[in-house]
């Protein structure tokens, strides 16, 4: 079987690849257009009719098509460039395009420069590909929203920002894209901002992302102080010259940034709330692309992490905690989107885990990122399709028996399901398998935890399937489930196909080889068990999880309301493992007290000192003005006193 044909690369470890782009020419000079197209789309859609002199209504009619076409155009260019890149020699696969000097002060020179290399190329395909599909899907999903034009504008904005993120040639431009996707995410989560919960979730997501951004900003500062540049090329060139402590700090700061964007513990709390956004947003941003930016960052900064083992260990720890955390959440939630969100957290945990494992894992992290992008987008869109048919109800306890009513949705969702639990042959099988395998080879504790995670994944995904598509109908009154329109199901079908087939990426160890110019080549670590045995164990574990779900959920009656008499663990998981409470206790509540305290202190203490001084002066003058009693003779007396003083002073000066 294919698996046996895929030994891990046996080349020597420690070769740090240096980013060394060659100038973009020919076809590659179109690179900027990849970003440019959706950006133009966003501008036209958002600034809308008034500026273009069009009637707003007209733009509303075809605006969504404009958005979709720009995304599709971007995909077409990405695909062309990818093929062109494949046609190049392996050493020529880093192409840089310098657009303009962003800013330049002293030795700080930041160019608005792009870097197109195999890593970016894969991301480009994922972002524009999945992005286009989700655009298409949104045409149907958002049909009845009067602000659909704006929605597409935001989506295009997001695509542009995300592309900038992955095409950046230095950390500052990356930061630009990084913040840009954060903004788009904010706008889209809060798209239905008349709902207070959506507005609050949007703000929460943005602020928590910004906490992570502190890390990225500081890392950039430290990089500049250390290397005098933030270009990938320069930093990767000079990284080996820096002390390990410095690199560790940079690594940890980058990790903080990655945690924020990728919803890793401890900055995970925003992701579940982010499900307040429209479902296509959840699929695109909070499953397939933006949340994986953290993984991208770690893989991109491999030249730093390779020299900072402590930081790598930190990644592994964070990732392992997150993958279990997300999985536990997924088991307890009844909101279909939140289950998927928990699952996303968990899966990104796997990617981070792989990325934290170093050269051995980078390629697998990206691989899993891609496959996850497909199947999770697929499932989110499927969930959206279900919600679409169920009058926007998200509670799985009100679902059940939907496979008959929504055959296309069901089948495509099932593909995604099989992919995520790692059913042999489906894409998730290949990618997750590799990660667990590598983890076991690097550190058996982490490996076993990852294995447990895989089992739990099987449990909660099966639970979701059972509660949604099988069993009794528990629909609310007046709900008439129906299949979604063609414009929504076609993207589902495409994504389902990709979920099944994207496993071939690993064919012939292709992705590992393809990414070698970026991440280097790993030394082969002998896994503790034969590869085949590991695969068997993983599959068995997943099967256990599935079986558990079948016995605990599928065989029983599912109550319409969630039972309250449940174990502590379930309660905790339903409460997001008290993530919000922890934040509340540790940060928000003290913060709120601090703020109110300072606000009072500002009025009372700081301003009070000033006002008090003024009051004291007033009092003093009120006293001293009593001297002015109105009697002319009294004033004359003070004049004489003054004269006397002057005379005496003159005398004293003359005598002295």
């Amino acid at each position: 079987m294919t698996y046996a044909l895929l030994p891990l690369s046996a080349a020597g470890e420690g070769i740090i690849p240096v980013v060394d782009p060659s100038a973009a020419d020919g076809l590659f000079s179109l690179l900027w257009l990849v970003i440019g197209l959706p950006l133009i789309g966003a501008l036209v859609l958002l600034l809308g009719g008034p500026l273009a002199g069009l009637h707003r209504g007209a733009l509303d009619k075809w605006g969504h098509w404009l958005g979709t076409i720009t995304a599709a155009g971007s995909f077409a260019i990405s695909l062309t460039l990818f093929l062109a890149l494949l046609g190049r020699d392996e050493s020529q696969r880093q192409i840089g395009q310098e657009l303009w000097t962003w800013f330049e002060v002293g030795s700080l020179q930041v160019g608005m420069d792009l870097l197109y290399d195999p890593l970016s190329a894969l991301f480009l395909l994922l972002i524009t590909g999945v992005g286009t599909l989700i655009h298409v899907y949104s045409i149907g999903y958002m049909e009845h929203d009067e602000r659909r034009r704006r929605f597409f504008g935001y989506l295009n904005l997001f695509i542009a920002a995300m592309l900038l993120l992955v095409l950046a040639d230095n950390f500052l431009v990356l930061f630009f894209g990084w913040e840009g996707v954060g903004l788009a995410s904010y706008l889209l989560i809060g798209f239905w901002q008349h709902k207070p919960s959506a507005a609050a979730a949007a703000k929460k997501a943005f602020v928590m992302n910004r906490v992570g951004d502190i890390g990225l900003a500081l890392a950039i500062g430290l990089m500049f102080a250390t290397f005098g540049s933030t270009d990938f090329a320069v930093v990767s060139e000079l990284a080996s010259g820096a002390s390990e402590d410095t690199l560790t700090v940079i690594g940890l700061l980058l990790l903080l940034g990655a945690c924020g964007k990728s919803a890793q513990v401890p900055l995970q709390a925003w992701l579940l709330d982010a499900m307040e956004g429209p479902t296509p947003v959840s699929a695109l941003i909070h499953a397939a692309t933006m949340v994986t930016a953290g993984v991208y960052l770690v893989v991109r900064s491999n030249f730093i992490f390779e020299l900072a083992p402590v930081a790598q260990t930190a990644i592994v720890i964070v990732a392992t905690v997150t993958l279990l955390w997300g999985a536990v959440l997924g088991c307890a939630k009844d909101d279909v989107k939140k289950v998927l969100a928990g699952s996303t957290m968990s899966q990104i945990g796997y990617m981070m885990l792989a990325a934290g494992l170093g050269v051995a894992g980078y390629a697998f992290a990206i691989m899993h990122l891609l496959t996850h992008g497909f199947f999770k987008a697929n499932m989110f869109l499927g969930a959206g399709s279900v919600m679409h048919g169920m009058n926007d109800d998200v509670d799985m306890r009100n679902y059940g028996g939907l496979q008959k009513m929504m055959p296309v949705t069901f089948v495509t969702f099932a593909m995604g399901y099989l992919a995520i639990i790692g059913f042999p042959g489906f894409s998730g099988f290949w990618s997750k398998d590799k990660i667990i395998e590598t983890a076991l080879a690097e550190n058996w504790v982490v490996g076993i935890l990852a294995l447990v995670g895989a089992g739990v994944t099987g449990f909660y995904m099966t639970r979701l399937m059972l509660m949604t598509f099988f069993g009794e109908k528990r629909w609310n009154d007046g709900v008439h489930p129906h299949e979604s329109p063609r414009v929504m199901t076609v993207p589902l079908i495409v994504l389902a196909a990709l979920s099944v087939l994207s496993g071939v990426l690993l064919l012939g160890n292709w992705i590992v080889d393809f990414l070698t110019p970026v991440v280097g080549v790993a030394a082969h670590h002998e896994p503790p068990l034969p590869a085949l045995a590991i695969t068997a164990i993983i599959t068995l574990t997943v099967a256990l999880g599935v079986a558990a779900a079948w016995f605990l959920v599928g065989k029983r009656e599912i109550p319409k309301t969630a039972p309250t008499e449940v174990s502590f663990i379930t309660t905790a998981a339903r409460n997001d493992l008290y993530g919000d409470q922890i934040n509340e206790t540790l940060v928000i509540s003290p913060g709120r007290h601090l703020v109110s305290g300072l606000t009072t202190a500002d009025r009372v203490l700081v301003d009070g000192t000033v006002e008090g001084g003024a009051a004291a002066a007033t009092g003093l003058s009120a006293l001293s003005r009593r001297i002015q009693n109105g009697y002319v003779r009294s004033y004359a007396l003070s004049i004489v006193g003054g004269v006397l003083l002057v005379v005496l002073a003159l005398l004293a000066v003359n005598l002295a």
């Binding site: 003005r625 009593r626 109105g630 009697y631 002319v632 003779r633 004489v640």
Partner: protein, 99 residues
Amino acid sequence: MSITPYIVLSAILFTIGAVGVLTRRNAIVVFMCVEIMLNACNLGFVAFARQHGNLDGQIAAFFVMVVAAAEVVVGLAIIMTIFRSRRSASVDDASLLKY
């Protein structure tokens, strides 16, 4: 003939005038004390004119007289108006110029 006695006399008169301004309450008497002070100064001017052999001091005294005349005219008119409205010529009664 030294002018020092004149200067001393001038100083004494000036001081007496000043004390008078400070202690007397009848506005007219206060005015007279001011005149004493002015005259004391004049004496000084004239004496110094002689000391220096220069008539400028006398001119100064002359001007002081003119200004004093003007001042007395206006001042007495003010006293008149105040007296008309208040029936009093005491400087202490006009004590509105206060806090």
